[in-house]
Symmetry: C2
Subunit: 383 residues, 2 copies
């Protein structure tokens, strides 16, 4: 199997953008190729992680439009959709394209344009990923999050404040991320007193609706050596599903997709959770940061809240989580998020994370689709 | 690189179906696993080729629903979208998953549910894959086909009847395909006198709107040997794009995506066009069969029409094309079509094509997205 490297990364400003999805994708794609010093004509495979350009904007075929806009024709193109984990699925697809020998230069661009739609419209598009029975009964992802948060707090006797600490931490990190949608600190009181959304979760437990794009450039390690003195390798990546009907899960606070994808990614990398120095977890809802932190083996079940309260996951803690600001403050343009997670790890591992820099040789990104319906986990190392 | 085999295949009846997309996908997926004698729990990766379940039915996340319905959780899932060539892109993705070592058992299911929408609505969803500038001016794929057919006939002094012969041949083949949407012969006069759609193309130059699904099961050759005495290998597969703005192409009768993907697929297989015994080409419009036949190197530019008139591509000809009936008579459920092409080649190579059987050791499938905006070509051999 060919060893896979990342030699370039970029992301656009996340937030409310005037540009539509094709423009956002081209902005990130161009910047990524510039970052790596690679010409568009050298791209062999081009993957676009995007959930719903057809539903949001009435445009499809965006990978072909992007190949055209970048000047990458006749590169092979494909759209990767795995709902809210389309970005992570794109990382896996790009890895497979290089590891299989199909491509020696693969550009992955993830992006979504959402803010031109109302929150209700956007939520309805996202809710279409749930099981049809759940969808028809009006279940949305925020409602699952509320039910799960209540179960977690009850089961593990965890304080409500621990969830607020996730939001406070990630907002603090976002202040130092020039790409983030929200660059302002919040305090625990603000989070705890924000409007109720899905009891016990409140406004600040949720990520926003966001426009944005991010990109990564993959190639074999031997090709990477020609381009850069130091680069990042994807030493393990894997994905897994959980039941599509959420209520069929035996333990609502264990995300099987997280557990299985994490176990396989660590196996492939020959590493363990103890080896990870920095992690980007999919905090679409604050409770999800706990469930991934535990599911990946960073803490025993029911104890993630304690690490959050103790500052273990803060930027100066033993295992910084979401130094980028996470989905919570950076924003969550569906198809971009999993790519942007790896962008943050890439920058951290290369020592290019500016004010957000932590000391890290091994990083992990976990991208969650739906309510854990499908999950990808990727482990990166610096060379 | 791991050598990749196909050990199971299935397709549903194509046509107007009461079932919705999730049910169609499960029908094909179940049948494919049965065909191979593999348990759902042994599936490691599950890819779904589908262009527009969100636009057609308001449902997304169909790969997760399918993993659930098949009993394949926690298999990794992903949707592969490459517009009308989503099926071929799925074949390429499945190949990469096995060749890279990421998966030892990959199920690919392609499907689309379209007939519950009006032809105008379906055409509008499909037209959203064209370049936004073309889309906003009302250009649809049939109008491109008309313009290109006129150019071809003029440039190569080809008779209008040669296009009708494609429709007549493919309808004849479809009679013997129990999965085909149309199982009736037509004659040249009927084709030539059918209603005008996009001059010079008439109704019988176009494939129908179709519901249906098809599936393939991929694994390493060494695993295939444990399952079957004879099986099929994917000895070369590749994909390529052309300009997304169709009018920017210097030669409208040459499809660069076909040429480039064909060349690379033959290179990978170590074969040439002369080695191919049977081919499934993407006859969404009759003219496309000529353009692919030439672009893949089966004939010199401007001569495919002659081979069609001479019966070279008939079932008893030197190179049978579209023994399945092609998209023309079998139908074209977007995400299913590229998968169903490989289903036909698989059956032909194993000698299981019933009334449609031809003598073949090497087969090729070419799946075209948009108006050649992205193309995949796969070459299969029997072992």
């Amino acid at each position: 199997m060919t060893e896979v490297a990342i030699i370039g990364a970029s992301m656009t400003r996340f937030g409310e953008r005037e540009a539509w999805v094709n423009e956002l994708l081209a902005e990130a794609g161009d910047a990524c190729l510039d970052d790596a010093g690679v010409a568009p004509a050298d791209v062999e495979h081009l993957y676009v992680s995007n959930m719903a350009s057809g539903e949001f904007e009435g445009t499809t075929g965006v990978p072909n439009a992007l190949a055209h806009d970048l000047g990458a024709v006749p590169a092979y193109t494909q759209r990767v959709d795995q709902t809210s984990s389309s970005g992570g699925a794109g990382v896996y697809a790009a890895w497979q394209s290089v590891a299989s020998g199909a491509s020696e230069m693969t550009l992955l661009v993830g992006g979504e344009k959402m803010t031109h739609r109302t929150t209700g419209e956007a939520t309805d598009v996202i809710a279409s990923l749930t099981h049809p029975v759940e969808y028809k009964h009006g279940v949305t992802l925020p409602s699952f999050a509320g039910l799960t948060a209540r179960t977690y707090l009850n089961e593990y006797d965890a304080p409500r404040e621990s969830l607020a600490e996730v939001a406070v931490k990630n907002h603090r990190n976002g202040v130092d991320n020039p790409h983030a949608q929200f660059r302002r600190e919040i305090d625990t009181e603000t989070a705890l007193n924000s409007p109720l959304v899905a009891d016990p979760l409140r406004l600040y437990d949720f990520c926003p609706i966001t426009d944005g794009s991010a990109a990564l450039l993959f190639c074999p390690v031997e090709v990477a050596r020609e381009h850069a003195d130091s680069f990042v390798t994807v030493s393990g990546v894997a994905g897994a599903t959980d039941t599509h009907v959420v209520h069929e899960r035996t333990d609502p606070t264990t995300m099987r997709g997280v557990v299985e994808s994490g176990r396989e990614a660590f196996d492939r990398a020959g590493l363990s959770p103890d080896d990870v120095d920095v992690a980007e977890l999919h905090d679409m809802f604050t409770i999800l940061e706990f469930l991934q932190y535990e599911g990946l083996g960073f803490a025993d079940p029911g104890t993630a809240w304690q690490d959050a309260m103790d500052g273990v996951t803060a930027r100066d803690g033993a295992l910084p989580v979401n130094t980028s600001g996470g989905l919570k403050s950076k924003g969550h343009p569906l198809g971009a998020s999993g790519v942007a997670q790896v962008f943050e790890i890439y920058r951290q591992l290369l020592g290019d994370a500016g004010e957000r820099q932590v000391d890290a040789d091994v990083g992990l990104a976990c991208n969650v689709g739906g309510f854990g319906n499908c999950v990808t986990t990727a482990i990166m190392e610096v060379r």
